[in-house]
Amino acid sequence: MSTVVLLGITGLGLGALYFLVASGLSLIFGLMDVLNFAHGALLSIGAYATWWAASHSFGFPLALLFGTAVGTLAAVALELGLVRPLYRRPREQVLATVGVGLAVPALLSAIWGADARTFPVPSALAGTFTLLGASVPVDRLVLVGAALVVLLALRLFLGRTRHGLVVRAGVEDRAMVTALGIDVRKAFTLVFAIGGAAAALAGGLAGLYFGSVDPTQGGSLLIFGFVVVVMGGLGSVSGAAVACVVVGLVQQFANYYSTAGLGDLSVVVMLAALLLVRPSGLTGRLA
């Protein structure tokens, strides 16, 4: 029983990371039709900024805030400087984001080396607590809590604000939003900023979860972020939330109860099976 509890909470923690990556990715893809392969780079930037700040006595909460702010600024710069000039050239846009996705890890390697750097986990989050006989690391709860806060904030933003209304409408029909006199490019920048903030937050929390940061972390998490986006349905934050829980749990249980590494494979098989049965993902939007 204790093993099941531990695997369940760890799976939820991993799912929380996937959600933070996928929520922004899903909104960016849904609204802008941009396959942002640089999203992993934003996560890495957030991870290294949080690690740097935490290593310089910022304290974990402040370091996380700093990392998130740096990732947000990087996302805005990416959208304004690279993605926006290529809106009418989707192939070049994909190539550009792939380029950034490759360049940022290389840059991080050049500055701090290719080896993983130990993340200074604060003592309050380094321990465990007992739940149904299982010793569960405290940081898993932090991850799940952060994902729930982001989910709630996104739902409030999308459901209660005019900017959120513009984003939801833009996901459906971008041209019609502009035909109502709304500058949808502002929504693009906003969505990129939100996505960048969530990815950078995921980067900081990934440091907590894995106990280290390394330049390839963003790329690895991005793959599962894309899986969650496709499973959840494009542009659907709620769909991404459900899909990330499923992916995180399946991965953990499959890895434990079968050969290590089979968890990743089982996620891909699950995605293929879902798309065969329901090509539009869990919430009905076509991939």
Partner: protein, 246 residues
């Protein structure tokens, strides 16, 4: 015609390497309804989309004294244009109230007028627009335009297409009411409706302007109507009894 509210000269649109418009000229009168007519595939919807910058275009589009062909769609629309698209363009996942709220540009939106013309929209405010009938969706599309008192031109692209006769009448009344305050450019296949509403008309054929003049004069001339619009008889129905006559 006194100085037109919208003046299009030599409008050309090329999409996917295909020339859709070869140089459309049209003027929209400063009051009343100007109908944009033509057979299927003549380029009416593309002309509207070109005016609004929804497709890449060249030529000249002067609106309110400004050249708008270099502007983006939202910049053009914010200068006071209300647009009812051919496919209604409602956001299916948004509620009726959210669809209307999204279109608000005026500080004091005219909800009173919208709910007076379309009382159903008030009753269905919390219903997802995607679950409405075609007629109700058209009410949302027209309601979004009527909401903004600052509009100085309304462009309606086949607003009665595929609608039940009762709804056609409601749409006609709404357009008639709107046209009392704001000039309307109406793309329409229902010639009975054109006869009822339009003062002027412009006819397109193969992506070019083929005719421009008083609407009643064209519709009364069976020969000209047959040549330009493909209809074989004089159109003199007094009211829009059935949708889709063309």
């Amino acid at each position: 015609m006194t100085s037109p509210v919208l003046s299009v000269r030599g409008l050309k649109v090329v999409t996917g390497g295909r020339h859709i418009l070869h140089g459309v000229d049209l003027d929209v009168a400063p009051a009343g309804v100007t109908a944009l007519l033509g057979r299927n595939g003549a380029g009416k919807t593309t002309t509207v989309r070109g005016i609004l910058g929804l497709v890449p275009r060249t030529g000249s589009v002067r609106y309110g004294g400004d050249e708008t062909v270099t502007m983006t769609t939202h910049q053009i629309v914010r200068r006071g244009i209300g647009y009812v698209p051919e496919d209604r363009g409602v956001f299916a996942a948004l509620t009726v109230a959210e669809n209307l709220r999204l279109a608000e540009r005026d500080p004091d939106p005219a909800y009173g007028l919208v709910h007076e013309l379309f009382p159903e929209l008030r009753q269905r405010a919390r219903q997802a627009a995607g679950t409405l009938s075609g007629g109700q969706q058209q009410m949302v599309a027209i309601g979004r335009v009527l909401l903004n008192r600052g509009n100085r031109l309304i462009i309606a692209d086949e607003p009665t297409k595929g609608l039940a006769p009762r709804v056609v009448t409601e749409v006609a009344v709404a357009l008639e009411r709107a046209a009392q305050a704001v000039p309307v450019l109406l793309v329409e296949q229902n010639l009975a409706l054109v006869r009822r509403l339009a003062d002027h008309c412009v006819v397109l054929a193969d992506g070019r302007t083929a005719h421009a003049g008083p609407a009643a004069e064209l519709l009364a001339d069976a020969g000209k109507s047959r040549t330009l619009l493909g209809v074989g008889r004089r159109v003199d129905a007094p009211a829009p009894a059935s949708g889709g006559e063309s």
